[in-house]
């Protein structure tokens, strides 16, 4: 990376603009992403496994193995992406561009759902809408004597809703970052035409934030199609399978090749959607909303609509954050998972080892593993957030500044794929590729470094998507005027682009941080006992049936995530004085 940029800066005779940068970026993501991906692909190609392709695609099995799950997955992906963009976009507008009361609080709440594991959201759904199909405890509504039909308890509808409730905060974060950069004169020009708020929102604000919307839609689409927990919890009882549950199952029962084929097909299908989204925003049209003429930041006055809109926002936030958080916290306090709100005990948090409970496991605050795992996890989170953001920034910058061209298309697609690759496949590929020494590079196996590199590659799509959306809104002449001063690439990046895009970049960093804190599948293959991480501990407990401990750890992760977000918000407002109202 370093040599390329300096090359770009020093080259006497620059080749086509952006080419060195593109090649550099391509090289890095080629090594970090394409390499592992190709390895996954090759896993499916040897003679003994090649049959997996025909099994999956053209055999009597393919209906249930591929087509039905694929249909469900696409419905989920598209549905969730639409829902998330709508809800996230609405909240982002409210928080960023209007004078709705409690903006900060709403803004914080709207970033939370993503930090709450989706299983908690699914459980929260269950605690309200679960019917007696599966048995066990029924939900609140049935408790009131209201029969809940299966379609509302299980299957597509609840999965859609739960995933939307879980992922909309991704869309919110990306879109909010983009809206924060919209010059108010664009909006004012629309106001002058006599357009109503809704019209301005739909006709001006959303379209200028289109890159962010496409990013938000892409991220939430990828999230929805690769989410396992919600469809497994809510879909399986009515035999609804998605690509993710199938994929997981196939790997779990030892049919790895088929699993990988499914993963590759999922990637291919998603790539089509991504290509489409990219197509929309890579045309001639510009989204430069931060211009060199210093536009003002101004808020819409909502007038009479203030309170009703506040009410809507509050309902969304309460349902999608407060309820799951309560369920999650309750499940770390209640000894019985079937009665979440009775017999609460702090044992799982504070208790000393008591042989009568959970085989003598001490509460999380007394558990030396958890203490050390917390610090490892946080450092891993921080490091990966930094490396992921840096790499993401390079990719995002390249994509935003040099939108057209085949190379950009390739970079864009590659930089998105890790979202769709099962972590276990990615992790295994990483061990195989980087475990052994390569040339002068030492073997990374079992090192923190490998965890960082893999985590970076795995999570870079988040920073790419969030960063690119915002960078695309920075008018090109701002960078050009810096070029004229003789400033090198990195100098310009750090002094001009990063501060202007900081909100988007910070959003990407936070998402990466949260993701790596919670991610299991990738980490579980790469971690070493000397570097225990919280997610692995939570998995340990859950697999032993100590769900309260697992949930307590999840709450710890949640608290750290919220703290990180608050901190970032803090820095954010401090670091962007020109955006003050």
């Amino acid at each position: 990376m370093a040599n390329f940029s300096s090359l770009a800066a020093r080259a006497r005779y620059a080749v086509p603009q952006g080419l060195p940068l593109k090649l550099g970026v391509l090289l890095v993501i080629g090594v970090l992403i394409a390499g592992p991906l190709l390895r996954v692909l090759f896993e499916t190609l040897p003679p003994q496994t090649i049959a997996a392709w025909s099994d999956v695609v053209i055999s009597p099995l393919s209906r249930n193995l591929l087509w039905v799950p694929l249909t469900n997955t696409l419905i989920l992906g598209v549905g969730v992406a639409c829902g998330c963009v709508l809800i996230g976009g609405f909240l982002a507008w409210l928080v960023v561009m209007t004078d709705v009361p409690f903006r900060r609080t709403i803004g914080l709440l709207a970033t939370l759902p993503f930090m709450i594991p989706s299983f908690a959201t699914a459980l929260a759904w269950g605690s309200l809408f679960r019917n007696s199909r599966v048995g066990g405890q029924t939900g609140f509504l049935e408790g009131l004597g209201l029969p809940v039909p299966d379609w509302l308890s299980w299957g597509m509808v609840p999965t859609l809703i739960v995933l939307t409730a879980h992922y909309y905060s991704l869309a919110f974060t990306v879109i909010a970052a983009a809206l924060a950069t919209v010059n108010s004169d664009l909006v004012e020009a629309a106001q002058m035409t006599g357009a109503k708020r809704g019209r301005i929102f739909a006709g001006i604000i959303l379209p200028v934030a289109l890159p962010a919307i496409v990013s938000g839609a892409s991220l939430t689409f990828a999230g929805a199609v690769s989410n396992f927990a919600a469809p497994a919890l809510l879909g399986l009882p009515v035999r609804m399978q998605t690509m993710a549950t199938r994929l997981f199952g196939m790997i779990e029962i030892g049919q790895t090749a088929r699993g990988y084929v499914i993963a590759i097909l999922l990637i291919v299908v998603s790539a089509v959607f991504l290509w489409f989204g990219n197509k929309i925003i890579s045309g001639r049209r510009s989204y430069a909303t931060i211009t060199g003429k210093g536009g003002r930041a101004k808020r819409f006055e909502l007038g009479a609509a203030r309170l009703p809109l506040l009410a809507i926002a509050v309902v969304i936030c309460v349902l999608t954050t407060i309820v799951p958080v309560i369920v999650l916290i309750a499940s770390s306090l209640a000894p019985s998972s079937s009665a979440l709100f009775s017999d609460w005990t702090l044992h799982y948090w504070l208790g000393a080892s008591n042989p009568a409970i959970a085989q003598g496991q001490a509460g999380v605050f007394h558990n030396p593993f958890i203490v050390s795992a917390t610090s490892t996890t946080v450092s891993l989170g921080l490091v990966v957030a930094v490396t992921g953001s840096v790499l993401g920034l390079m990719v995002a910058f390249t994509l935003a500044r040099y939108r057209a061209g085949f190379l950009s298309g390739v970079i864009n697609q590659l930089a998105f794929l890790p979202l769709l690759v099962p972590g276990i496949a990615f992790g295994a590929a990483y061990i195989a590729l980087f475990g052994a020494p390569i040339g002068p590079f030492p073997a990374l196996y079992g090192t923190f470094t490998l965890l960082v590199i893999a985590g970076t590659a795995y999570l870079v799509p988040f920073s790419v998507q969030t960063g690119r959306a915002v960078i695309q809104q920075v008018s090109g002449d701002l960078d050009e005027s810096a070029r004229l001063t003789g400033a090198g690439f990195f100098r310009r990046l750090s002094a001009i682009t990063i501060p202007l895009a900081s909100r988007g970049l910070a959003a990407g960093a936070i998402i990466i941080f949260v993701k790596i804190m919670r991610d299991l599948s990738l980490v579980v293959l790469l971690f070493t006992p000397t570097t225990p991480v919280l997610s692995v501990l939570a998995y340990r407990y859950a697999s032993e049936g100590f769900t309260q401990f697992a949930n307590a750890i999840t709450v710890v992760i949640l608290i750290i995530s919220i703290a990180a977000t608050l901190l970032a918000n803090r820095l954010q407002t401090k670091s962007q004085p020109w955006l003050k109202n």
């Binding site: 009597p60 099995l61 209906r63 249930n64 193995l65 199909r133 599966v134 048995g135 066990g136 405890q137 497994a232 919890l233 399986l236 009882p237 035999r239 399978q241 549950t245 199938r246 997981f248 199952g249 196939m250 779990e252 029962i253 030892g254 049919q255 790895t256 000894p335 019985s336 998972s337 079937s338 009665a339 409970i357 959970a358 085989q359 593993f369 276990i424 992790g427 295994a428 590929a429 990483y430 061990i431 195989a432 590729l433 980087f434 475990g435 052994a436 073997a443 196996y445 579980v524 293959l525 070493t528 006992p529 000397t530 692995v536 998995y539 340990r540 407990y541 697999s543 032993e544 049936g545």
Partner: protein, 351 residues
């Protein structure tokens, strides 16, 4: 000298020289073992990696591709997959400590050493059925009465449930007999169905078996207190030990024809090219328990009701049905591995 034939005392100095031993374990109870091991054999650091069987397999495969020997001991479930994916490919090797060779029945020493047995068996809610299991024959589950009221984990999501399905097929003769006992007529197979066992699986799915994603979901569904008409389902017998904590009333249905489910091994093996061969053997020896009735420190974490030691000299947990009275089928991993994928394919079509 051949390490395989050495006793623990002979291995110890070599192991101490090696200084460390890495165990890949599918259960986090390895942490307790680590403490006990290090207390007993100071100077040897036992390093435990927690990872599910699937992850262990993925990891071992990837490591071998990269030429890394990280694991010394593999403690793993999912026997049928392990046989094909790890043993046949030479990634792991069998080892039976000479000390226990005679104490463990042959079926549990070959092809790999089994340390203990776990179960996936039919369980019911004893609060709702205080007089014993509501069914006495597996085929009861295919009756209208149990439509939508049998719960299990999706066998295409979890290997052990798939093994359970495979076992039905492997035991087709017994299933056919049970059918006749239940319905008073010989079984008639649907077209395309080749065995009584497969017919059972087919009928079970046709009877709207409810699939969930984890055993805890099964337990909560079946076991939760206060249900008037709880479902029934397949889960781990050992989960009964959580009844009190969780507010469950799980009980095993032991008197079920022809069997209530499967009992299957947790395996211990040496990683091929282990870097610490002596310590690895010592660790396996330790994990097999000492000569006391309960297996002592090394086995303590696994001495729970519902799990059974393979060592005949370790007595079954007092709170559980003794192993000899337990009606579950012992799986034959090799036979299972052979038809596992075919059964999975058929279930796939049923879904």
């Amino acid at each position: 000298q051949d390490l395989d034939s050495m006793s623990a005392q002979e291995l110890l100095p070599l192991a101490q020289e090696e200084g460390t031993v890495t165990v890949y374990s599918f259960t986090s109870r390895i942490a307790a073992v680590e403490a006990a091991f290090e207390a007993k054999y100071p100077g040897i650091d036992l390093v435990g990696y927690d990872a599910s069987s699937t992850e262990q397999i993925a990891r071992l495969n990837a490591e071998s591709a990269a030429g890394i020997a990280s694991a010394d001991v593999v403690y793993i479930s999912d026997a049928p997959v392990v046989l094909t994916e790890l043993l046949e490919t030479g990634l792991i090797e069998a080892y039976v400590p000479p000390r226990v060779a005679d104490l463990v029945p042959d079926e549990f020493t070959s092809p790999l050493l089994a340390q203990r047995l776990s179960t996936k068996v039919l369980m019911y809610n004893e609060e709702a059925s205080p007089d014993g299991a509501p069914v006495d024959n597996l085929w009861d589950l295919t009756r209208e009465e149990w439509n939508g009221r049998v719960v299990m984990v999706d066998p295409l999501q979890r290997g052990d449930y798939l093994d359970l399905m495979v076992e039905f097929v492997l035991r087709s003769d017994e299933m056919a007999a049970a059918y006749e006992a239940e319905f008073g007529e010989p079984i008639a197979l649907d077209s395309g169905v080749e065995s009584a066992g497969m017919q059972f699986v087919t009928d079970l799915f046709a009877n709207d078996v409810v699939l969930v994603s984890s055993t805890d979901d099964v337990n909560a569904a079946i076991g939760s207190l206060g249900q008037s008409n709880p479902p029934i389902g397949f889960t781990s017998y050992s989960d009964r030990r959580d009844n009190e904590d969780e507010g469950w009333a799980l009980q095993v249905a032991n008197d079920v024809a022809p069997s209530n489910g499967i009992i299957f091994p947790a395996l211990l093996a040496l990683a091929a090219d282990a870097e610490h061969p002596a310590a690895a053997r010592l660790a396996i020896d330790f994990l097999m328990g000492d000569d006391s009735e309960t297996g002592g420190e090394g086995f303590a974490p696994f001495y729970v009701a519902g799990d059974y030691a393979t060592r005949t000299d370790i007595v079954s947990h007092p709170d559980a049905v003794p192993l000899e009275d337990f009606s579950a089928w012992r799986i034959d991993p090799a036979a299972t591995a052979e038809i596992r994928q075919d059964v999975a394919d058929m279930i796939l079509i049923l879904q």
